[in-house]
């Protein structure tokens, strides 16, 4: 990453340092960083500038204030963020700034004039972070292990440069931790009554309101939104229903139905620290349809629903009344492909293409519903489904239950804030590599995530706590 084209002797002459043989401790430390730093910055007379981040250990949805001090006045610099995903891929972002007349730089006040984002964006380094050149294609940043933080190395580079350039001088750095879980939140694996999930319980005696957390057809067990909700005071239950080793099923089928979700909801109700009549459901994508189905077909009574970019009916044929599905990869009638062979799933969930018998009977909905639309959603026909939901509730005289949020330039994956959007990512690798489009453009999608998360938290407070 940092390369110099001067000999070591030349550098030593410039910096007037004598390396004493045998000082193995700091010789190891010295390395290339020191050599590069010494060449340009005349460090035998002045100390390096300072880069600070506060708070330096923050939750993912907390703002961080990044500042640089003791720079030369009006000095052009690049702020660069680098981190490794849980899978070991390198992600990075950068932005070009100019220090002010006092040699100070503040990302909460100053505009970026180039790089991964433009303008005044205090959290831009985090939401614009992308896989570094040379990393695997089709990546999406998702925290698997919520009990450890992302370690983000934020550095100040000399001049307006790109981090992938040959000659870079790192002037200063700070390491920040970004957490999906607050201290004291307990993570409990649940394998009970056939239900597979992870429960997050905030510290304290309780009792707490609770949230059932559902994701989409990517499957697996996704914990990071749940752990954040628990960090905000709710007991939160991430539920697996598809693509999990502890849920045996024929390939590509959802092998669980209404009884499974009802059991999961009841598990929450029966938890000694849960207030049984203050449980909400949050669902993204297919999880949205599941949330609506649970609220209208299973007999349980959630206090509210938050649905993000999802259909109001099943996109896959059901094989029984309980709601289990057939193999969804067999039904590719509405799969569209762009010029680069990437699949766009959007048409599958157009209301006209949804399984009619699976369409949720919204007239049976008895609780408030927040529906969030990403207007550039390429995976689900969110706007069309939102329209149909709105119309159905209106016909049933229940418009007052609906709160609709709609965000331009925003894609399918509306996730907790200050994390990057994937406009596309790898859907399957075998038998053939297939990339799917999610949609969304970086800046508007980031703004949507920030706004939506605040509104979701306020909505949950309003309906689960007051």
């Amino acid at each position: 990453m940092f390369r110099v084209h001067l000999s070591v002797n030349a550098i030593l002459q410039l910096t007037d340092i004598k390396m004493k043989p045998g000082f193995s401790v700091y010789r190891k430390l010295a390395g290339l960083e020191w050599l590069t730093g010494a060449v340009r910055w005349k460090s035998n007379t002045r100390p390096a500038p300072i880069l600070t981040a506060a708070p330096v250990r923050a939750l993912i949805d907390e703002q961080m204030s990044i500042k640089g001090h003791f720079l030369p006045p009006h000095c052009p610099v690049t702020v660069c963020a680098r981190m490794h995903s849980d899978e070991g891929d390198l992600w990075q972002s950068f932005a070009h700034y100019n220090a002010n007349e006092s040699g100070v730089l503040s990302l909460t006040r100053d505009p970026s004039v180039g790089g991964s984002y433009l303008g005044c964006e205090p959290m831009g380094l985090f939401w614009s972070i992308q896989p570094a050149p040379g990393e695997r294609e089709g990546l999406r940043l998702r925290k698997k292990n919520v009990e450890t933080p992302y370690m983000v190395h934020i550095s100040l580079l000399e001049g307006h440069v790109s981090p992938s350039e040959q000659q870079i001088t790192e002037l200063a750095a700070v390491t920040a931790e970004r957490w999906y879980i607050a201290p004291g939140v307990k993570r409990i694996e649940i394998r009970q009554n056939g239900v597979v999930g992870t429960l997050f319980v905030p510290p304290g005696p309780g009792p707490f309101p609770a949230v059932l957390d559902l994701w989409g057809m990517g499957g697996g067990l996704i914990e990071y939104r749940s752990s954040l909700l628990a960090s905000r005071g709710h007991i939160s239950f991430s539920l697996a229903y598809f693509g999990h080793k502890d849920l045996p099923s024929p390939p590509n089928c959802i092998n669980v139905g209404d009884s499974y979700f009802k059991t999961a909801f009841q598990l929450l109700q029966d938890h000694p620290q849960v207030v049984s009549d203050r449980i909400g459901i949050i669902g993204l994508s297919f999880g949205c349809y599941l949330a609506l189905r649970i609220a209208t077909r299973t007999g349980v009574q959630p206090s509210c629903l938050v649905c993000i970019n999802g259909p109001m009916g099943s996109t896959v044929p059901l094989i029984n009344a309980d709601g289990r599905t057939d193999q969804f990869e067999s039904f590719q009638e509405y799969w569209n492909f762009d010029d680069e062979g990437r699949v766009i799933f959007k048409e599958i969930s157009l209301p006209a293409n949804l399984l009619p018998e699976s369409l949720v009977k919204l007239e049976k909905l008895d609780c408030p519903l927040m529906y969030i639309v990403g207007e550039d959603d390429l995976s689900t026909s969110s706007t069309e489904n939102a329209d149909l939901i709105e119309k159905s509730l209106q016909s049933a005289g229940k418009s007052h239950l609906l709160t609709r949020l709609s965000y331009p330039g925003t894609g399918h994956l509306i996730e907790p804030p200050y994390s990057p959007n994937a406009r596309e990512s790898m859907w399957v690798i075998k038998p053939k590599k297939l990339i799917t489009m999610w949609g969304g453009h970086p800046a508007p999608h980031a703004a949507a995530q920030e706004d939506a998360w605040k509104k979701i938290l306020d909505y949950l407070e309003k309906h689960l706590r007051s």
């Binding site: 430390l29 300072i50 708070p55 250990r57 049984s276 407070e461």
Partner: protein, 445 residues
């Protein structure tokens, strides 16, 4: 999950929320404690509980009344009573005291700086003063307080016979450096050095009374031990040799002043001395200094609670230049931080004398004095509990004493907060030197 008991719909308890932001902070960072959704005008107690590394429990508490919206904001609202009163954003930390029934003479000091101090903050119904353990709070959260920022490297140093720990900030450097000295209790005390490194200054905590050399030979180190420590920093490739400072508390002040004025090797950019004195025998060094204290112990007295007061040992301040550091010869900026209620040393009288000496020599422009009424000897990083007295092991005699440090908790805590902020400004101003500084020098505090 066993079904124990169910909460009925009219139980409003689930509504109460307690939040502390940030939940993971540096020790010198402020936090905001917010209680919401209680009934308006309800009586509440906010409580902090910490179990320290020595397994002692410490607690603090304050009594509030929620406002019309049912909220309490500790940074804005007034505590009526408790271990602190008034509007005190950080009172839950600096007013921490050993829980009733604890053994006397405790002092909280973090040994392992790589793990946080964990504090449980809870809100209870009513105005409670005791038996918190028997009650169930309305809500409770956990807060971490760190002496060390992520990315700061902790490096044990044993080269050249030193017993020290170097803390290097993140980044390529080069960094200004600080040699960090504590007092007569000895040991290798790391927490202040870790915190300074978290603010971007490479800092080395040095053990000079119970170091390897002393433990093996039984002898006290000489001047060259400190010069070696200084040289270690000076030639470190990540440290800027021309920007090294010394920070000393108590006996560490004596060492700092001696080195600053008389060492040909140690060239300090600036020095900070907390609650110490310039009075010491000029021939010889540490060994002679310790003997001097022993010789003057007729001035020691005891309080009615059998606490030992050592402040008079060096008094009266001698006029004889063979018994005090000639600060008129000092060539670098010096900040003196003084607790006016210090019962262990005599920093006030010493500071007055130093000022006179420097005025007479014409270098008093180098001197900054911060003097705090009712603050005691142990002026430490902010928001950490005050110990007016504690059990102290004298490294020379190996005897344990209940030592009176002095200070009244409220003023002492204010002093710690103010002194730390000013100390950081002073260090940055002098260590970053001619670099033009903006308004936001220490902006994140």
């Amino acid at each position: 999950m066993k079904k124990k008991y169910k909460f009925k719909m009219d139980n409003k308890q689930c509504c109460v929320t307690l939040s502390v932001q940030p939940s993971r902070g540096l020790v010198d960072e402020k936090f905001v404690v917010l209680v919401q959704n209680t009934l308006p005008s309800s009586l509440l107690t906010i409580h902090a509980l910490h179990r320290c590394e020595d397994a002692h429990s410490w607690h603090a508490f304050a009594h509030y009344t929620s406002d019309a919206t049912g909220a309490v904001n500790v940074s804005e609202d007034c505590s009526m009573s408790g271990t602190y009163s008034g509007v005190e954003a950080m009172g839950l930390l600096w007013s921490l005291k050993p829980v009733p029934g604890s053994k006397p003479g405790l002092r909280m000091r973090k040994k392992n700086v790589q793990a946080p101090m964990v504090v449980t903050i809870s809100v209870y119904k009513g105005h409670l003063t005791e038996d918190f353990g028997d009650r169930v709070p309305l809500a409770s959260v956990e807060v971490e307080r760190w002496y060390m920022a992520p990315g700061v490297r902790r490096i044990p140093v044993t080269e050249d016979g030193l017993t020290a720990t170097l803390f290097l900030p993140s980044g390529p450097g080069r960094f200004p450096g600080i040699l960090d000295l504590w007092g007569g209790g000895g040991q290798l005390v790391e927490y202040r050095a870790a915190l300074l490194a978290s603010h971007g200054i490479a800092t080395m905590a040095l053990d000079y009374l119970t170091c390897k050399y002393t433990m093996e030979t039984g002898k006290i180190v000489e001047k060259d031990y400190f010069e070696t420590a200084y040289k270690f920093l000076q030639k470190h490739p990540k440290i800027l040799g021309s920007r090294i400072a010394m920070l000393g508390l108590s006996l560490g002040t004596s060492v700092t002043l001696k080195m600053a004025v008389y060492s040909d090797v140690v060239k300090l950019r600036c020095a900070v001395c907390i609650n110490g004195s310039h009075v010491q025998p000029m021939d010889g060094f540490l060994n002679e200094m310790l003997n001097y204290f022993t010789e003057h112990c007729r001035n020691i007295h005891f309080t009615k609670d059998n606490e030992v007061v050592w402040r008079d040992i060096l008094l009266p301040i001698p006029t004889d230049l063979s018994r005090k550091v000639d600060v008129g010869k000092l060539q670098c900026p010096l900040m003196l931080i003084i607790g006016e209620d210090d019962q262990n040393w005599c920093p006030c009288e010493s500071a007055i004398d130093m000022k006179v000496m420097m005025e007479q020599a014409g270098n008093s422009h180098l001197l900054t004095v911060l003097s705090y009424p009712n603050a005691g000897h142990l002026i430490e990083p902010p928001y950490t509990p005050h110990a007016r007295s504690s059990l102290f092991k004298d490294v020379i005699s190996h005897q344990k004493f209940m030592v009176l440090w002095g200070g009244q908790t409220l003023e002492h805590s204010r002093a710690q907060e103010d002194a730390w902020r000013k100390l950081l400004v002073f260090l940055r101003k002098n260590l970053y030197g001619d670099v033009k500084t903006g308004a936001s020098l220490v902006s994140n505090l």
